[in-house]
Symmetry: C2
Subunit: 253 residues, 2 copies
């Protein structure tokens, strides 16, 4: 069985969409960095508002950009073995998780130093739900797809749930970022926000770019002809599994 040119090179247009997503995602990280670095006084780890500034940067880098890229690996690396891509997917998600946890620690530490109550806002509720479910999703993915215990039937049953909830949590992470932007602006520049202060316009633009990144990642992973076609050895394995479960001949068409 030969791999078709489309399977090898990927469908036309896909590289442009992926490049666009990377441009948008990097722009989000850079603008968050500039916002916190230039307008909010830069970064530190001393319990001050400069420690708070680590929070947005880590969340946009971890739970949005790296999370989005971890989702995209199945579309980008089309000719690697499935197992290699699974490991890359899991590693990128783990990296996203570690960066996000640093971001969480930064904000809780800042709250503790400044005697600000925790977990009262909608942003904090959505953020906590996202991070906890993200950990659950990562562990479930590890257990079902990388550990050898799960049967092919169980893997196939969980796959659609993993894909749906993975994308839903990514969207929730983007939405939670927008809530964080709104909260930060109303805490910091409430009096000048309505006069279109440059900081407000920059942060609003960041919000729209985050939406753009989310929409583009969602489009790339859900577009039917962008899906990774099964490779010959996976086809053979899948045929073999079909034979075992349904009694069909592996050489039948």
């Amino acid at each position: 069985m030969e791999v078709s040119p489309v399977a090898q090179q990927g469908p036309a247009g896909l590289p442009w969409y992926v490049a666009g997503s990377q441009a948008l995602g990097l722009a989000c990280v850079v603008i968050t960095g500039v916002w916190m670095g230039h307008y909010r006084g830069g970064y530190a780890w001393d319990g001050s508002s400069h420690e708070f500034n680590v929070h947005p940067l880590c969340m946009v880098l971890g739970l949005v950009f790296l999370y989005g890229d971890a989702i995209l690996v199945y579309r980008v690396f089309r000719n690697e073995s499935k197992r290699s891509i699974k490991i890359l997917h899991a590693m990128l998600h783990l990296f996203a998780l570690i960066v996000s946890i640093v971001g969480f620690v930064a904000v809780f530490d800042f709250h503790a130093s400044s005697k600000i109550p925790d977990m009262y806002s909608l942003h904090s509720w959505c953020g906590m739900v996202t991070l906890v479910l993200f950990c659950v999703q990562w562990l479930m993915g590890l257990g079902f797809f990388l550990f050898p215990g799960a049967s092919p039937w169980l893997r196939s049953w969980y796959l659609s749930l993993h894909v749906f909830f993975g994308l839903a949590l990514f969207v929730l992470a983007v939405g939670t970022s927008l809530l964080g932007i709104t909260e930060k602006l109303l805490f910091s520049i409430k009096s000048t926000y309505s006069t279109f202060a440059p900081e407000g316009v920059l942060a609003n633009t960041l919000g729209l770019l985050l939406v753009g990144f989310g929409v583009l990642v969602g489009y790339i992973v859900t577009r039917e002809d962008f899906r990774r076609p099964p490779h010959p050895e996976e086809e053979a394995l899948s045929m073999h599994f079909k034979t075992l479960t349904e009694g069909e001949s592996p050489i039948s068409p």
Copy 2:
């Protein structure tokens, strides 16, 4: 060709998911109504903050609940003709659009009376993008699917874009509602929000219920076995079209 029992009754579980989505959606509308009615002084159309209160209620009713239900009609009405469902889908969306426009007028009218600048916040930017693209999406849907001009090839090409961007705009509407909740709380109860004031807890709960409604609607419309199967007469039409375009015999298996 006989319609299978699954096609007639729908797959097991679907009615429960739909009932759950309706319970969540109605809870969102009722809680928004109670929040604005009980905590924010009720409704009026006099340029006061009571006119503002019409805005959240209309947006949650129109751009979230009715929009979500308009998406669900293809899963709920499985045995009606495709054309009837299309018309119901378009009518529900039109109703959602009218209710949303009333909500938009309410907030612009309140801003004008109270000399509050328009369109400076991330919430307003996201809301305007959502409403404008929703109008474009509605008109494109009307032109491609209800007017007779578009060729089957063009309809089929546009369908996947219509479905993706329809769902993306619905998610953006839910996200914009969460931004609105955060903005309203930080404008109205900033000093007591961090003490877990009942109004804040109610509004945060509304936010999580909106997320739940969005996730459930997204799950129902993307789950493969919940899709509406093609009906015999549509199959025949589709076969006829295939014959015309590909020269295949309509009676071939």
